[in-house]
Every structure is written in structure tokens, then in C-alpha cells.
């Protein structure tokens, strides 16, 4: 009876779900930045770039407790401005969900089921996510706890298989690629998994009141960095840099060649579930955020009725996004720029406006 009514997650669940969200599709797409052994620099640099933005996100949460980005923008930018911003953000959430659905259906088709068309795969992926999204946030919290344990287990398991082959030579020479290219790559990392967590702001009222949001963000950022570095080192050690470079799904390929004690080989079928649960989390959060957006644009009482239509729309969108896999990969660089307004511009505007708004509000009673 006690904590069930509250649609909130605890501090640690918050960290884990944010991490899982970011880990989601990057795990399967791989931290594949076309800069071979220098990728780890990009991962770390990206984390440093991300920190101020994460602090801004946390500040927004602190300023407007229990409100989501849509409500905040309506407070700050007025009714019409707020609705426009909400519509943009909703579009971004749905688009992101569609991108992830497409990534995964593409991955599953290539990796294990070449003859199965993508639509049925996408449909059951979408339905599962819609089911979780229409449950409450606490179920998402539990889901992340369990999933992160599975992911960690598999990661450590595969990492352990690589650690005895690891040589420091593998990441030499440092900075082979020009600085410009490395910076570009880190911008990709910033926009691709890290800053996508802006979607969490769109759900709102998820974190328990006593948690400090900046700690949630920073903890999960460090977890993400650790996981991405582990993935990177594992892949480069086991696959070799060239093989890692040319594969669409390096982690999957790594799973294929791991052998344990000579009898357990080719476990990729079971290890790809690791990618899948990350992907589901990401789709779920996006759909929830999109449904929340629709709710605040049209002033509905409950976001749950909007879950299924947004999921369906994301599904439909995912089928027409790309005409082939290569296009999907090439889109990543465009995505970095495309996502900037949603990940950076809107939050910064809202933050500044929010600071001014709260100052004014605090002053008002004194006069």
C-alpha cells in the first residue's frame, strides 16, 4: 500500500534506468566511430563534454520538481510557445523510438533471421515496449534493475574472456587520427547515447523527491563510460582493430567468437538478448515520453491511452526511415546535428528562462 501509488523510482533505479537507456542501442551498434584504436579517447572526451549538459538537465529538474519538460515549457514560454516546443520534443521522442526500433529489427534480420521480414520483428518489439510503457514507472524501475544485472553479468563474462588476450599494444598508437576527427567522433558519442537522456526529462515526476538529480546523472554517466570502455576494449582485443572497424555490429561479432572451455561456443544467440533488453528500455522510455507529450499538447488526463498510438506511429515511421542498412549507418553523423536542437538548444533555453522565472517568483512575495 505504501509506495505503490507513487509513480516514482528510487535513486539507484534512476541511475540504472538512465544507464540502461543510454547503453541500449549503442551496445549493439557498437561504439564504432571509424577511428579504430582512438575510440576510447572519444568516449572519454565525450563524457567530459556531456557533464555540463547533464548538470543543466539536473538543474531543470531541481527548478521544477515533478514537472516534465512539456509542462515547464508551457509555464515558461506561454501557451503557444510551449505547445510548439512540446510538439517538437514529442516528434523527437517518437522519431528516436522509431530509430531504435529500426536499429534492432535491422540487427535481428542481419544477424539471425535473414529470411524473416522486418515488420513482424518490429511489431513484437513494439508491442512489448508498449506493454511496459503502459505499466507504471516502478515497473520500468524493476525492469532496469534486473536488466542491468543481466547486462553486467554478460559484459563481465565476455570481458573476462578477453582480458587474458589484452595487450597494451592494442590501443597504440595513441592519437593516430587527426584531432578534428576525434572531436567529431566524440560529438557523435555525445549526441548518440549520452545526451539522448533528455528523453527522461520529458517523462517527469519519475524520481523520488529526496534524490539529487545531478548525482543520478553523473553516476549514470560514469557507469556508461565504464561500460562503453569495457565494450571497446573487449571488442578491440578479441576482434582486432580492422575487424572491429568493418563490422556493423562489433559486439555481436565478439560474442560469436568467444569460447568458454572449448564447449560453449557461438553463444551470440543468447548474448544478443543483452542488446535486446537495452533496446526495449530505450523504446519504452521514448514511447512514454512521446505519450506524455501528446498528453500535454492536447491536455489529456492520462498519458496511457496515448501509449499505443505513439508506439504504432513509431513502428510505422521505423519502416520508412531508411531504404537499407548502409543508409542507417550513414545517418549517424547527420543525427548528431539533427538532435542538437532537442538535446541542447531547448534545454538551455528552458534552463535560462527557468532561472529567471524562479528568481522572479522568489522575489515576488517580498514585495
Amino acid at each position: 500500500m505504501k509506495n505503490t501509488k507513487k509513480n516514482t523510482v528510487t535513486f539507484r533505479e534512476g541511475i540504472l534506468s538512465v544507464t540502461l537507456f543510454a547503453y541500449g542501442s549503442s551496445a549493439v551498434m557498437g561504439i564504432n566511430l571509424r577511428i579504430e584504436q582512438d575510440a576510447w579517447i572519444a568516449i572519454l572526451a565525450a563524457a567530459v563534454i556531456t557533464i555540463p549538459f547533464f548538470l543543466i538537465y539536473s538543474r531543470i529538474i531541481v527548478l521544477f520538481r515533478e514537472k516534465n519538460l512539456y509542462e515547464i515549457s508551457e509555464i515558461l514560454l506561454g501557451k503557444i510557445g510551449g505547445k510548439i516546443v512540446s510538439a517538437l520534443l514529442t516528434w523527437y521522442c517518437i522519431h528516436l523510438a522509431a530509430l531504435v526500433i529500426r536499429n534492432f529489427s535491422e540487427f535481428i534480420q542481419i544477424s539471425s533471421m535473414p529470411e524473416t521480414p522486418q515488420i513482424p520483428i518490429a511489431i513484437i518489439l513494439m508491442l512489448t515496449s508498449a506493454y511496459l510503457a503502459s505499466s507504471n514507472m516502478r515497473s520500468v524501475g524493476k525492469w532496469s534493475v534486473v536488466c542491468i544485472f543481466i547486462i553486467f553479468f554478460l559484459m563481465i563474462f565476455t570481458f573476462a574472456a578477453s582480458i587474458k588476450h589484452f595487450k597494451i599494444d592494442d590501443i597504440l598508437p595513441i592519437m593516430e587520427y587527426p584531432l578534428k576527427k576525434i572531436v567529431m567522433s566524440s560529438i557523435l558519442v555525445v549526441s548518440f547515447p549520452y545526451l539522448e537522456t533528455v528523453v527522461f526529462l520529458c517523462i517527469g515526476e519519475t524520481l523520488k523527491k529526496d534524490c539529487k538529480p545531478h548525482r543520478v546523472h553523473l553516476y549514470s554517466l560514469s557507469l556508461m563510460v565504464i561500460m562503453f570502455l569495457m565494450v571497446f576494449f573487449r571488442n578491440i582485443t578479441l576482434l582486432g582493430r580492422k575487424m572491429m572497424e568493418i563490422s556493423y555490429y562489433p559486439s555481436y561479432l565478439t560474442a560469436r567468437i568467444i569460447e568458454v572451455g572449448g564447449f560453449a561456443t557461438r553463444m551470440e544467440g543468447s548474448i544478443s538478448l543483452n542488446f535486446l533488453i537495452g533496446g526495449i528500455t530505450k523504446i519504452v522510455v521514448c514511447i512514454m515520453a512521446a505519450a506524455n507529450g501528446l498528453k500535454s499538447i492536447f491536455n489529456f488526463a492520462n498519458y496511457r491511452t496515448m501509449v499505443l498510438p505513439s508506439a504504432l506511429f513509431a513502428l510505422a515511421l521505423s519502416t520508412i526511415l531508411y531504404s537499407n542498412t548502409m543508409e542507417m549507418y550513414n545517418f549517424i553523423k547527420y543525427y548528431a546535428i539533427y538532435a542538437m536542437p532537442f538535446q541542447i538548444v531547448i534545454p538551455i533555453i528552458l534552463w535560462i528562462a527557468g532561472e529567471i522565472y524562479t528568481r522572479k517568483k522568489n522575489k515576488a512575495p517580498l514585495n
Binding site: I110, A130, Y131, S134
Partner: protein, 382 residues
Amino acid sequence: MNKRSARKACFLLLSIIICLYLTGCWNYRGLDQMNIVVGIAVDFNKAENLYDLSFEVASLAGANKESGIVGRIINAQGKTIFDAIRNAKRKEADKLFFGSPHVLVINKYLASEMGILGVIDFFLRDGEGRESMCVAISQEETAAIIIESTEGAIEMVSVNLHEIMREEKNIMGSAAQMEMYKIFSELSSKKRSVLLPALRKVKNGDSIVSEANGSAIIKEDKLVGFLNPDQSKYALMAQGELKSSIITLGLTHNLANDISLEIFKNKAKKSYKIEDGKIKVKIEVENHVAVSENQSFINLKDEKEVEKVEKAAEEKINKNIQSVVSTMQERYNADVFGFGEMIYKRDLKFWEEISERWDEIYPTLEVEVKSKVKIRNTALIM
């Protein structure tokens, strides 16, 4: 709310799945509808410009539970590798299944003229294929002959060969087993050459079987030559990749060698320095060994005598590695030890300067070999 949506989602999924199930399953393939490929041999028919592939598949029909499973060969020709694989289906009711092939044997002419990367591309690309299969070069006229089983065989040849190559590294070290994905990664890194196992047919008792016979040198994806088992052992030792092996010494001027040393641990370190514009490479090899055979009546209780044995072993190793290295440099110009890669990793700028001329520089490198042998014990008796 949850209740209702839960029910809904379940019903929904169930109905869709049942629908799918009734209308057919795309990727469902029964185990009974497949030929399990365990080995592949690739030849090239120059006259007709076709790839000539032989597959060893597990022959299930004749086998019963008591006897072992033998392989049978399926031959197919095609304009590309994949074409040949699909052509094989014309003769067989069941599709070929490439989930667990163990070896890929490549014809030596094909390897020396057309290169091996083209051949392995299909197997790396295919979702079903196995990146970790062993690649070997046939020393016989065709590759197909290697995986052909002889009269009275009780096991599949390819599985056997895979075991032989796998164990070779741990027991004799005369052939360098290498997985497909590693070959790809190594060959595409800086001007590197690799060693692959070489296979031939020999007489063994009444039958003719395949055996590992040293290594094939692949330079920039083309075969340039072979090393005999002894040479490849020292080549591996210089790379520090030997798991175990034997060094024999002849100390007392007998006709035969009289001491066997069993290697337990092999470490190698490469370094380079530039002196007067010349690159000097140093290979330091360290071996931990045990005396496992002593026909020479040398008193191994005496530490001085032991030191003598160590010295002799060190000299032998130095000499042999030196000779392998110079063969590589002068005869084949193949950088199997990864000197170029070492320079690239340590000093990127320098490498960029010299990488264009690496093929000229490599044969002129001064290589110094320094080995160290430590006798750990003398087994059970003195």
C-alpha cells in the same frame, strides 16, 4: 488500468503469434533438413575459370549410434564461392549448413596467385558462417584431396585436422594455427605477413592421412612460400606464441641428438632502436624448460653442467631464430614478426616516413636475437 492493458497485450501478441505460426515460419529449419558442413576445400579451375569447392559434410544416413560418424564429400563449381555453394544445393536435397565448419583448406596455387582474403570474405560476411574456423594451405596439388577421407576412416577428416592444428600449437608448435577473423585483422594491419598451417598427405601405416607440415607464409594476402616444421617452431618461438615444444641438443657427438628439453613457457620481446639512420631490431626470447630426456650421461646434479646445457640450448635457439629471420627477410621479404607494426605502434611519425619504402627497408634490418633458457627441473630422475 494495468490489469486491462496486460490482458490486452497478451491477447494481442498471442493472436498475432498464432497467426504467424499458422502462416509459416520464415527461418524455421529443421535439423533434419540440413547437411552439416564440417570442412571446406577451395580450388580454382583455371581452364574454366571456376571455383571448385569440396565440402565435407557429416554423413548421417549410414551411421548408427555405436560407430563414429564419417564425412562424405560434396563437390560443386561456381563462378564465385557463394555461387558454388548454391550450386552444391542442386545435387543435394538438403541445404548446406555453415554453422560449424572447422577448417577451410585453400589450394596453394589459388593462394599464391589470387590471395586468400577474397576467399574468406564470404565466410566472414555470412551471418551463419563461423569466423573462428581454421584456415590452412594445402601443399598437395588440390585442396580437395586434403579433406578426402580414406578407406576405413572412423572420423571426419576435417574435425580431425582441426584438432591436429589446435593441438600442434600446444605440443609441437610446428604449425601456426590461426582463426579466420584474426587472419583478416592481421593481414590488414601495417604490412604484416602471417603464417598459416600447411597440410599434406602422408602414409601412416596402411592408410594415407593428412598431416600438418610446417607453415605457409602469406604476404599481403598471397602465399609466398612454406616453412618446414622446425623453422616454423622457431618462428613461433620468436613471436612468443609457443605453448609447448621440444628442443633437442646433441652434446656428446653421438649420431643422434641426446638431450630433449620440453618448453613450458615461452616469452618474447621485440624492441628496436635507430642507430646511424639504420633500424636495429632486437628479439629477446626467454624459455623455461625441463629436461625430459638425457641420453648423454651429463651429470645434471652439477649446476655447472646444467648451465652448459642451458648455454648450448640458447645458442641453438639463437642460431635457428636468426636463420628463420634472415630467410624471411631475404628470401620471402615477409614481415611475419610484425616489425613494421611495432614501429607503427611505438613511433607513428617515423612509420609514416618509412612505410612507403618498408618493403625495401625490411630485408636490410639488422636483427639481433638474444635468447635465454632456464632449466626448471629434470623431471622425476636426475
